[in-house]
Amino acid sequence: MRILIIEDEAKTADFLSKGLKENGFSVDTANNGLDGLNALEQNNYDLAILDIMLPALDGWSVLSVLRSKDIQTRVLLLTARDSVEDRVKGLELGADDYLVKPFAFSELLARSRTLLRRGTATEIQKIQCADLEIDAIKHRVTRNNQRIDLTPKEFQLLLLLARRPGEVFSRTVIAEQVWDMNFDSDTNVVDVAIRRLRNKVDDPFENKLIHTIRGVGYAFEQRA
């Protein structure tokens, strides 16, 4: 999967590039709009991460030129300005998604993956990770052939993490996906829920599957 980052702020481009590479993407960067547009026209990228405030040619122009030339590369817009008009304008010009700075890298990664996956894979219904098995249809979780009883929310939480092993989920994303709370809240509800889930899924076993990425969020994977 090839991603082009068009961003004039060197530090931002740097950490985005580094993070995405480490997550298995092949990444190029452009530090102004014109170079970015050229690169997009000449190469076949799967995703462009496009900043709006850019020298030479701004993000809006890059996007509209791109769409007018019928290049359907997916575009994720980045901006420091959070106004509804901007959001609407971006989507009307043909952007696929929109992120406001400051954003969590895990959030950007999740959105990028969603965009790249869009219209392809169907949700996996049976998940196996180490000795843990999840049946999404029957709502059954077993570990080491032992049945684990989870509440509906605990099950939803586990399923969310386990469907994308290794991916870091921020508390905000978890609250959004599991409880439909579409805003940042300053409670530790998510931490409590994770603790209770671990209590049932991980604590009795030596091989831990749910991991805390301090300050960022939680991830599910077999590390041992």
């Binding site: 509804v84 709370m181 805003f183 940042d184 300053d186 409670t187 301090r214 300050g215």
Partner: protein, 492 residues
């Protein structure tokens, strides 16, 4: 402020001039009408005086005939003497300076002229005296005749009864009084009136100008005071209590506006100070820990620990920015909400589900009662309101306490949602500040345990976006009760 000073005189004088002009025109009209009326009534009065003068003369003659019963040669003397007498005493006493030319004639029954007084001037022949019936010796008829503008006459007629040679006779007396043309009194009066008019108008224009300037002096003083006021002196009082009532009212209104401005201003600067302070702690932590970390080589675990700790600070700052942006957006009057109709019951369920695990751990009971209320609002924003309120309530409620949510219709069909807890409540002095940004009731609480201090500010701004109201009670500091009042769909 030289610019403002330049404007001052030009903005003051037109009003003074205008008012002076207004005074002058008003005075002119009033004086004109008043003197016109006076002039008319004096003319009327003069004419009546002349009439009674003529009548008195005729009556005198008639009396003379009655008494002396004689048409003798003394009569000449009488007519002329009386005439002169009347001129000398009567008229000069009552109407100084008005000459009266009373011309008298006496006829017998057959119409023969018996006697007439000396005429000092030409008397038109065509004058028509009033006619009186011969038998009527009591009546005197007087009419006014205008020959021309200069020649106006009063004509009087009367019959007198007398005796001649012991037989009753009747004599016809005719009197004529010429109203003198250009009577000096009237002319004088006209002159005086004109003078009064001119002087009155000038005087009133002048006093009007003076009075207005004087009256407007407080206004000028107010202007000067206001010009002195800048951002740092918003608490200055314009109303010093020495001004007339009208100006004092203006000054008072201005003071009230200043007070409101002062409040907003200090709130704003307080907010800036608070914001800087809020940023100081995490930035200080970040700088310090990074600096210390870089001062020597460390193990990977140590680096990781420092980075993780930094990440927490970053997240805190990022959320603060998010919330401040939300507040700024909510203050923008153009911001629209995405309102739909939904049952409150479902929202209560969702929010309870979200907080249930935390509540269970803290041994707090969350209950709700929605009474089948339907609400027209932005669903996500309502969740945010409820979430912030419950999160707050949890922070101040001890184990075995409870938080209850309830919804109901008010008598006027608004929707009331109450979030009540059995927590420690709020000290009454703090209630007015509770919606301020970065306000925290418990200052001693540890930094990591605190909320952002923006939760209630966000709740309030969301209620304002809905055109609703929020109030907080803490009766006897036994728990806190937050009341949300949503208007009905039609009112929004």
């Amino acid at each position: 402020m030289p610019l403002n000073n330049e404007h001052k005189p030009s903005s003051l004088q037109p009003l003074a001039r205008k008012l002076a002009l207004l005074y002058a025109t008003t005075t002119f009209s009033v004086l004109l009408i008043a003197s016109g009326l006076l002039y008319w009534s004096i003319l009327d009065h003069l004419q009546k005086e002349h009439q009674s003068l003529l009548a008195a003369k005729i009556i005198e003659l008639r009396q003379h005939f009655k008494d002396s019963s004689l048409l003798d040669k003394d009569l000449h003397d009488l007519i002329d003497a009386e005439h002169h007498h009347s001129e000398a005493s009567h008229s000069s006493a009552i109407h100084p300076g008005i000459p009266h030319h009373i011309f008298l004639r006496i006829f017998d029954e057959q119409g023969n002229l018996l006697i007439e007084s000396n005429s000092r001037q030409a008397i038109p022949k065509s004058l028509k005296y009033p006619v009186v019936a011969e038998q009527d010796t009591e009546l005197i008829a007087i009419i006014k005749t205008n020959i021309s503008h200069d020649q106006q006459f009063l004509l009087g007629t009367a019959w007198a009864a007398t005796e001649s040679d012991n037989s009753p006779r009747r004599l016809l007396i005719q009197g004529l009084l010429q109203l003198a043309p250009d009577e000096t009194l009237v002319t004088d009066y006209q002159h005086t009136l004109t003078a009064v008019l001119i002087f009155g108008v000038l005087a009133s224009a002048f006093t009007g100008f003076w009075v207005t300037r004087r009256g407007l002096r407080p206004l000028r003083q107010i202007t000067e005071t206001i010009q002195q006021i800048n951002v740092h002196q918003l608490n200055e009082q314009v109303n010093s209590g020495q001004w007339p009532k009208e100006i004092a009212l203006l000054a008072n209104a201005f003071d009230q506006m200043l007070a409101r401005l002062d409040q907003s201003f200090s709130r704003l600067s307080q907010f800036s100070a608070d914001l800087a302070h809020e940023l100081r702690t995490p930035v200080n932590n970040l700088m310090g820990s990074t600096e210390v970390a870089l001062s020597r080589d460390r193990s990977p675990e140590e680096y990781r620990d420092i980075l993780e700790s930094s990440m927490e600070e970053y997240a805190r700052i990022a959320r603060m920015i998010d919330e401040l942006l939300f507040l700024a957006r909510a203050e923008d009057p153009k911001t629209e909400i995405n309102a739909t109709v939904f049952t409150v019951e479902h929202e209560f369920e969702v929010i309870k589900e979200f907080y249930d695990m935390l509540a269970f751990e803290q041994q707090i009971d969350i209950t709700f009662n929605s009474n089948q209320v339907e609400l027209y609002a932005d669903r996500n924003l309502l969740r945010r309101v409820l979430s912030n309120l419950i999160s707050n309530a949890m922070r101040y409620t001890k184990a075995h306490g409870s938080i209850s949510l309830s919804a109901s219709y008010t008598p006027n069909q608004s929707i009331k949602i109450i979030v009540a807890d059995t927590g420690s409540g709020i000290v009454e002095e703090l209630l007015p500040h509770i919606f301020d940004r970065f306000f925290r009731a418990d200052k001693s609480r540890h930094y990591d345990n605190q909320g952002s201090g923006l939760g209630l500010a966000i709740v309030k701004s969301i209620m304002e976006l809905h055109g609703g109201q929020i109030s907080i009670y803490s009766p006897d500091q036994q728990g806190t009760q937050v009341e949300l009042l949503f208007p009905t769909k039609i009112e929004m």
